[in-house]
């Protein structure tokens, strides 16, 4: 700040105002407000921000900076692992941005906003239909927090403190799960996968499931893209021992493969961004999907808001309401079922609009396109000698054997970027050599797929 600072054209506080506030707070410098932030992550030096610019000059400068960003509109994205490059139709934005809807927060005195509640209720209904579960909530932050919440739910329901998950879990989801359960003192154990198929080791899973286990988490298709087609085999065992089965799904895959509700899972979670929550945007906003089978006792352990439908007392008209609110913080305070009090209501609404626009056929068509594209790429890659790491059946993701050495990761990424390709996720089982998790969205055309195969061929030579 300059010495002769008298005020700022866009900021209401004069130097006098600021001095007054600082005096009141007993600080000498604004910086003191940030003293809790560790020094090593604080920005050091002067921020080189011009004091005055005209609006026009400012907009030009911002535009010039932004034009340096590369997005999935300029690049062909083969990134998956829980997110997906999707197209957001103009109509979706138009509906979403209506002033009645456009808020990052859940409305206060929500029952007055029947339209918002109805939209969330529709979203929940769609989630239930896709997963074949009975109850869905009005959203969590993302898939990863869904895993953590589901683990805690299982622990509360069963009053046990052990939780199992399979090794083919997304690394970010694993990290969040580990963080999530520390406070609750839940111990975690990993069920290994079969090195040939990439599926969980069923025998080992059965061995690890005893009556001290609260729940088991399985991704399907798993992080390697492989479809876990043997989950049904452990469901009965699990239920006999009182273990709850949680399945994390790729929401698009449900158009083609059996939903968890059909094969007896208790809780289903997933990522809603991939079915229309919104475009990729520096990793967010995402949308945590969570749904469960109905049980009067267990449902009270579901976190987050749940919108219900009822009739009004006098006229018997249809009405929407928040239901089971006694689980929530504003009533149950520190004993609330979960500390999730915000949700992704706007993204959930966006997702519901997207699915409505796609319709049943559109939803299936896009999933088929993804499936066919992935299988085409896999077979073309095989022709040039780049094989899949796992033999298990897959939906729209698979890991291709590339063995990029650790010190060449950046080089590989740049090599693909030069060809306008966001290559996918480099994944290593030993920390030395990296294989590539490839995911195909429905936005990739035949040329894109062929260019990708060609680029991989060039890299390998």
């Amino acid at each position: 700040m300059t010495e002769d600072f008298k005020g700022h054209p866009y900021l209401a506080n004069s130097k006098e105002d600021m001095d007054g506030m600082m005096e009141y707070l007993g600080i000498k410098d604004v910086e003191e407000l940030y003293s809790d932030i560790p020094d090593e992550i604080k920005f050091k030096g002067e921020l080189d921000i011009p004091y005055y610019e005209s609006e026009y000059a400012l907009m030009e400068a911002v535009k010039a900076k932004l034009s340096k960003n590369l997005t999935t509109r300029e690049l062909r994205s083969f990134i998956g692992g829980g997110v997906l490059d999707i197209y957001v139709p103009a109509l979706q934005d138009e509906i979403l941005r209506r002033t009645e809807f456009y808020s990052g927060y859940t409305q206060y005195q929500e029952e007055v906003s029947q339209g918002s509640l109805q939209a969330l209720w529709e979203y929940q209904s769609m989630v239930c239909e896709l997963t074949e579960m009975d109850v869905a909530n009005a959203s969590l932050y993302d898939w990863a927090t869904g895993v953590g919440e589901a683990a805690l739910m299982c622990a509360r329901i069963t009053r046990r403190n052990k939780f199992l998950y399979t090794s083919a879990i997304g690394p970010n989801r694993e990290a969040v799960l580990q963080n999530y359960v520390t406070g609750a003192k839940l111990s975690l154990s990993i069920i290994p996968h079969d090195n040939a198929t990439g599926k969980m080791d069923i025998a080992k899973a059965k061995e690890m499931m005893d009556d001290t286990v609260a729940g088991i988490y399985i991704e399907n298709p798993n992080f390697f893209g492989v479809i876990e087609d043997e989950i049904e085999e452990i469901i009965n065992d699990a239920h006999e021992k009182g273990i709850r089965v949680v399945v994390g799904v790729d929401m698009n895959s449900l158009a083609l493969i059996k939903p968890p509700g059909e094969y007896g899972a208790d809780i289903c979670i997933g990522e809603g961004q991939t079915i229309g929550g919104g475009p990729l945007n520096f990793g967010g906003p995402l949308l945590g999907v969570i749904a469960m089978k109905y049980d009067k006792r267990d449902i009270r352990q579901m976190p987050g808001r749940i919108v219900g439908i009822t009739i009004t007392q006098k006229e018997g008209e249809r009405a929407f309401c928040n239901t089971l609110q006694t689980r929530e913080q504003h009533i149950k305070r520190e004993r609330a079922t979960s500390n999730i009090c915000t949700n992704e209501a706007l993204v959930a609404l966006s997702c519901a609009v997207h699915l409505s626009l796609l319709g049943k056929e559109g939803y299936k068509d896009t999933a088929e396109t993804m499936y066919l594209s992935a299988h085409y790429v896999a077979s073309e890659l095989e022709k040039i000698g780049a094989k899949r790491v796992f033999s298990g059946e897959f939906f729209n993701s698979f890991i291709v054997d590339l063995k990029v050495p650790k010190d060449k990761k950046k080089e590989f990424t740049n090599f693909m970027l030069e060809r306008k390709i966001l290559a996918g996720i480099l994944h290593s089982s030993d920390g030395e050599n990296y294989d590539l998790l490839v995911t195909t969205s429905y936005l990739l055309c035949e040329d894109d797929l062929n260019d990708f195969v060609k680029a991989i061929g060039e890299w390998r030579n």
Binding site: T326, I331, R335
Partner: protein, 140 residues
């Protein structure tokens, strides 16, 4: 003495002991039956759900043993003394109405075994005084 009715609204039974948190207990051999008083159930109104502890759970005096959800409020119910749970009225998990309709009978919540003293419980006269005081002070 007979049951006492306060303000034509709350019935307090004279053959029970009480806690200051408006729970009642009644000794039957080794085991004590436990529930909430009519004053508490009337004040809570219609109930939505009861979260019970598990058989075998042990509590210290005044620990929270479970939760009663009314339509607009959630309250804990507390251990009347150091105790172990020997039986729960599991039917309440499906339907909490008996607590509202018959809190001293069908609406019993738990059976517990004391693991320490029970001398601090309130007799009916003291409990009635406490309820009257709460009504007067408006702290109910």
């Amino acid at each position: 003495m007979g049951d006492i009715v306060i303000k034509d609204k709350y019935t307090i039974k004279d053959d029970l002991l009480y806690t200051k948190d408006s729970e009642w207990v009644k000794q039957e051999g080794d085991v004590w039956i436990y529930g909430i008083s009519n004053y508490a159930s009337v004040e809570l109104g219609e109930l939505a759900y009861v979260e019970l502890p598990a058989v075998g759970d042990t509590f210290s005096n005044a620990d929270s043993m479970g939760i009663i959800e009314a339509l607009k409020a959630v309250v804990d119910f507390y251990a009347p003394f150091d105790c172990e749970v020997v039986e729960v009225n599991a039917d309440l998990e499906d339907d909490a109405a008996p607590i509202t309709e018959d809190c001293y009978g069908e609406g019993w919540i738990l059976k517990v075994k004391p693991t320490n003293g029970t001398d601090h419980l309130l007799n009916v006269e003291d409990y009635v005084k406490l309820v009257e005081k709460m009504i007067e002070e408006g702290t109910h």
